[in-house]
Symmetry: C2
Subunit: 466 residues, 2 copies
């Protein structure tokens, strides 16, 4: 098998032994494995040939992008890993049609830079943007900080090229905003974690890059107050709020502890801190006025002043320079780093209907106290999407307790009409939760579809649905 693979894509592109080290663990170190080998194909035809070879030899194949996942989605014990890193070409940017045609291995940050050269933006963004690849974001339907305005990956991908388990290439590379020619196979493949096919290329939707931002850090007394203010900001800006990131007191305390370099935004710690960013595409909002101020900033200031006046807001600070804006974002982007500071933790990623967010947090505080009175919590949220990253730190190293806490989070979320995996997906770590909480008819439908498209089970075994 490996010899045939070497002759197919070149020996230098088949890594084994110590050369595979970077692909033998998830970045957090939580999952570790030893693959059969790591193949680095150069193009779609090579991916197809590898899958045909894998099918013939009964080899399992696990695709990998930037290795920034959190659910063991690339666990590959004994399997052939397929890294798309060499397929990193931006084939074409068509500014008039506002699309980019790219290969799966393009790093998200490189895509941002390429779009910016045309005054456009690919607005999907999150902490791991420097490593995460387009193939990975598509396979996980990645979310991040700008979902509020631009949607998740699914809303930003117009077309995909997918190699099926049997090596056939499914070309769905349309650059179209409307296409009702049968089932939306594109939407099915997006978020399928490489279990239905290997994404090799995509047509991405670009948007006008904001000409200016108004960014502020807000202090509020409650989550519901923050949501009410968000609706007000959305109306006032015509839906131009790009990010609305929720950081409660527990988050700010942990930030102060682990990143004292990132100063606290206010002299005192308020119950709720929010990072808000408004993006202005209109020249009328992004051209400095007679006083030298940007109208988008002046407008946000006026709306926030009104909210301070009528008590909707406790305090606010607006970024006056790009450095101040970067500092505000650094506080939020430190989330992954400050979450994984303790050796024992239960990190989760839930979504709730917007009118049930506070109920979930209240329920979890009570549940956690009942399960482990000494435990602490850390919460950070993409509030406008109803997406909460809830982390519990048990007071003792007890695997059974961790399992109980994780189950409680899923149960409370699902009980309130929510999801136990908002943006991190299923991978390997949430299979049992999926089994417990997904509608059983939907589970069966998933299994039937997987079996229909990959009857011999070549692709990413033991992930997403079993």
């Amino acid at each position: 098998m490996l010899d045939r693979l070497r002759s197919l894509i070149g020996a230098e592109n088949v890594l084994t032994g110590a050369d595979m080290a970077p692909w033998c663990r998830e970045w957090t170190g939580h999952y570790r494995w030893t693959p059969l080998a790591v193949a680095r194909p150069a193009n779609t035809a090579e991916v197809a040939a590898i899958l045909r070879l894998a099918g013939e030899s009964g080899t399992k194949v696990v695709p990998v992008g930037g290795n920034t996942g959190l659910n063991g989605g690339t666990y590959a014990e004994g399997a052939l890993m397929l890294s798309l890193a060499r397929m990193n070409r931006i084939r074409e940017i068509r500014p008039a049609a506002r699309v980019a045609v790219v290969e799966a291995g393009v790093v998200l940050e490189a895509m941002h830079a390429a779009a910016a050269e045309h005054g456009l933006a690919f607005p999907l963004t999150f902490g791991a943007k420097g490593s995460a690849t387009i193939g990975g974001v598509i396979s996980t339907n990645a979310g991040g900080s700008n979902v509020l305005r631009y949607g998740t990956t699914r809303a930003l991908v117009l077309g995909v090229e997918v190699v099926l388990a049997d090596g056939r290439v499914m070309d769905l590379m349309g650059a179209l905003h409307k296409d009702n020619t049968g089932y939306s196979l594109r939407d099915l493949v997006i978020g399928a974690e490489g279990t239905l096919g290997i994404v090799t290329a995509a047509v991405l939707k670009l948007v006008p890059a904001p000409r200016a931002y108004a960014t502020a850090t807000l202090a509020l007394s409650s989550l519901d107050g923050a949501l009410t203010l968000l609706n007000r900001l959305q109306a006032e800006t015509g839906g131009a709020v790009e990010a609305y990131e929720f950081m409660p007191a527990t988050y700010m305390a942990k930030l102060a502890q682990h990143r004292p370099d990132l100063r606290q935004p206010f002299a005192e710690v308020h119950p709720v801190t929010v990072l808000v960013e408004v993006g202005a595409t209109a020249p009328r909002d992004a051209t400095p006025g007679p006083d030298g101020a940007l109208p988008v900033v002046t407008h946000l200031e006026a709306v926030l002043a009104e909210a301070l006046e009528d008590g909707a807001l406790l305090d606010a600070v607006i970024a006056q320079t790009e450095a101040q804006r970067r500092e505000m974002w650094a506080r939020r982007e430190a989330a992954a780093e400050i979450t994984f500071t303790a050796p024992v933790l239960v990190d989760t990623d839930v979504a709730l209907p917007l009118d049930r967010l506070q109920a979930f947090l209240d329920a979890m505080t009570a549940r956690l106290a009942a399960l482990d009175p000494g435990a602490t919590e850390l919460v950070v949220a993409h509030l406008g999407d109803g997406n909460i990253h809830y982390t519990a730190y048990p007071s003792r190293d007890d695997l059974a307790l961790q399992v109980e806490i994780r189950a409680a989070v899923a149960e409370e979320a699902v009980g309130l009409g929510g999801s136990f995996s908002a943006e991190h997906g299923i991978g390997r770590s949430k299979l049992a939760t999926l089994q417990a909480h997904k509608n059983p008819v939907a589970l069966d439908a998933m299994r039937a579809i997987r079996a229909a498209l990959d009857p011999t089970g070549v692709l990413n075994p033991g992930k997403t649905v079993v």
Copy 2:
């Protein structure tokens, strides 16, 4: 079978003979059929029971909503039709979460009215809104006039309840903006034309209702000029353009001929007429200024004045009253009516990448002239979506010629990277076109998925993919 059906849902809800008349034809009359019967279930449990009964008796089932389709999607010769008209309850509207929970039989216009009571909007809209139902718009992934700002149906449906072919109920009724718990079965069912399951209920996304509109009719010299102006308007309004409807000279001439009551907007006929509408959600744009004018209107006037000045625009008229706005819309909404005026016509619905629209129209004019020098064309388009409704009127009643023209339209669209069915779907009429132009691997994948979810072929046979 019919006796068991009558005892299941009540004899008065099983229509046969003359009582079935409204369900024996598509509204255009192009397709006609005689169903076995029409069943009108009252709830999801009855739909499930009917499907179990159909499975046992080998009866085919064709779901029907408002009967406003154009592709024979509800053709039901000898089959049991399943009308969801009685399931027309709006179960719940939750303004804080901005969602509505509704049954499949709710008429689109009723949904508009219900959302409006809360200062919100369900923004999907098109000519047939007075008859089309939520189940129908979901099953066809309907588009319409506001896709530019709000997306197609897929972007506006957060959750669905679906009865599978075997009568099991798949509950995917989440009110969530992020939910990565496995394959997006919701997206798979949306647009599947009732071939993968019967949609019985849905969770719809609501948006803030615009507080005011600025609506104008524009005269331009070219399509590409219209697109450039659209990009300018989008930037100037921060993406608040809700509709940008393209009506070339052929359209305006046909309108003058068939609907002289709808006055022409300009003294002379220009190459391109566009209906543009901007929706203002912000109080700052929708509160009359000192001069009594709405800022959203004043702003559009200013942008258009600038465009007139620099030659991007030939002429423009802005609606000053709601009656004038209605009149502008009536000219566009007459499209279906003025299209179906001739006994012999080839109506199509294609999508193109935005930078290939003019190339498509040029190619078709040449192709049509070559095929039938006496033929005429009618074009109307949702320009910002790249969606063109192209209709050819052959000079003679020749079925082979119609087939040739239809094939030429599909071929030119696909050749330019476009779609041969932007929003009308496949139904029965476009099966051959699908076969000819869809990627064969995608076709196989569709067949495999259909067989996996409906192994005995109960649901809507002979539609979407065969």
